[in-house]
């Protein structure tokens, strides 16, 4: 199972969990399962088309990736806001 690591504010939407173990073979699959388990996070990471939002960064084992990237069973996935997002 991949380990998904979250920071605020996503951590708070996932019931305060910093780390969640999730099965899935792609980034999109893992994130959809994350939404399934923690519905409050729906729409925050993936947009209405199932794509990782422009101003969200997903790293899998140190590589910045998008929703179609593969995820190994022992992978570590970070989901965090990009510096390009937010307001100035």
């Amino acid at each position: 199972m991949a380990t998904v690591k979250l920071r605020a504010p996503l951590k708070d939407l996932a019931g305060g969990n910093r780390e969640i173990e999730i099965d899935g073979s792609s980034v999109g699959q893992v994130l959809r399962e994350l939404e399934h388990r923690h519905p409050k996070i729906s729409g925050w990471v993936l947009d209405e088309h199932g794509r990782v939002r422009r101003h969200v960064n997903v790293f899998v084992d140190g590589e910045r990736v998008r929703e179609d990237a593969p995820v190994a069973p022992d992978a570590t996935m970070h989901v965090l806001p990009s510096i390009s997002g937010g307001s100035r």
Binding site: P9, F59, R64, L80, P81, I83, S84, G85, G86, S87
Partner: protein
């Protein structure tokens, strides 16, 4: 009489007044109504004023005049070359250089332009534009912008520039070639296992100490740093600040151990900490910081001060300090931050402040 050039989301305000007087500064002129003014400055060598103006319809340009209450004229040459995958979006900074007529402009997407005729015509710095990593450069929240240009007093060959979010670049040949100067910067917004070798480094503001030019100070996207080797490497000097996030920075030109920052809560909440408007100053190169807030609002003051909205006037104990917030308020000090007054209230959201 002090003259402030305040760039706002709704034009340029030219404020004039006496520092520390009871009366607020007067609006001597408002130029470019309806347009965003990103930055404005007066080149003290020529007396010429420059304003970076962005029209929602008609793009970005630098305007110039000898009288900011009169007519402005466009400069020429600011734009990416035909066939480029980039188009000019905004002009973030204008900086006089260290040779007659030499002046720089930092723009978004991240490029450096040079003028050798005092700012009337501009030319793209190809060495930076041709960097092989350019296609992978990542923007910060304000876009992919070159905002800080640190010249070396008396030596036009040495430059340091800061880009959000592509870190520090150094040149020792007047911009003919560039290399990174990022050692020691810690991008906490990137997972630890992805930090090594990254150039996604979000510099927010950077200044060189003119009396000790190998020293630079930097406000980073989470972190405040000092370099004592001309930008090759950086050490954290954030301890003692209520937060290490912020945008602008200023220094006392007469004191190479000085720096001033305006801490904000975090990148997720870019307002002054605890609802208090406080400038923090160091006079020992970052060993310790002092809150400078006498006269600034200390209750329910959730201000955002952008990276070009903090400026100095003169130097030493009588140095003026001025900053403007996106609330439209402009504050000033005539005693290097020991006490503050309100120079003007309720302007449009402030992008930049410079003393003419």
């Amino acid at each position: 009489m002090t003259e402030l050039l305040v760039g706002t989301k709704k034009g340029l305000f030219v404020l004039r007044g006496d520092a520390g007087a009871e009366k607020p500064f007067d609006v001597a002129a408002r130029a470019f109504p309806g347009n965003v003014v990103e930055f404005a400055i007066r080149d003290p060598r020529s007396g010429r004023y420059f304003a970076s103006v962005t029209s929602g319809h008609f793009g970005a340009r630098v305007m110039h005049t000898m009288d900011p209450t009169g007519e402005w004229e466009p400069t020429t040459g600011l734009g990416y070359p035909e066939g480029s995958d980039w188009s000019l979006e905004r002009i973030w900074s204008i900086k006089p250089g260290e040779a007659d007529g030499l002046i720089y402009a930092g723009v978004a997407p991240a490029g450096l332009f040079t003028s050798t005729d005092g700012g009337l015509t501009w030319e793209l710095n190809r060495a930076l534009y041709d960097q092989p990593t350019r296609s992978s450069w990542e923007p910060g929240a304000g876009g992919l912008c070159l905002h800080s240009i640190a010249t070396w007093p008396g030596d036009p060959s040495r430059l340091a520039i800061g880009i959000s979010a592509v870190g520090v670049w150094l040149s020792e040949d007047g911009g003919e070639s560039w290399r990174h100067g990022n050692q020691g910067l810690v991008p906490r917004y990137i997972p630890e296992d992805a930090r090594e070798g990254t150039i996604d480094l979000c510099v927010h503001n950077m200044h060189r100490a003119p009396l000790r030019p190998e020293r630079l100070f930097m406000q980073f996207h989470g972190g405040v740093y000092r370099s004592d080797d001309a930008g090759e490497s950086w050490i954290s000097i954030a301890e003692g600040l209520p937060a290490d996030f912020g945008f602008p920075m200023a220094i006392d030109p007469a004191d190479p151990d000085s720096a001033f920052v305006i801490p904000m809560i975090s990148d997720g909440d870019r307002v002054t900490v605890d609802g208090r408007a406080r400038v923090y100053g160091t006079r020992d190169a970052g060993e310790s910081w002092t809150s400078l807030s006498d006269g600034l609002p200390q209750e329910d003051a959730y201000l955002t001060i952008l990276r070009q909205a903090f400026s100095v006037d003169g130097e030493g104990p009588g140095m003026g300090l001025y900053f403007g917030a996106t609330s439209g308020d402009v504050f000033g000090s005539a005693d290097a931050g020991a006490s503050w007054f309100t120079a003007h209230e309720r302007l449009a959201p402030v992008n930049s402040v410079r003393v003419a």
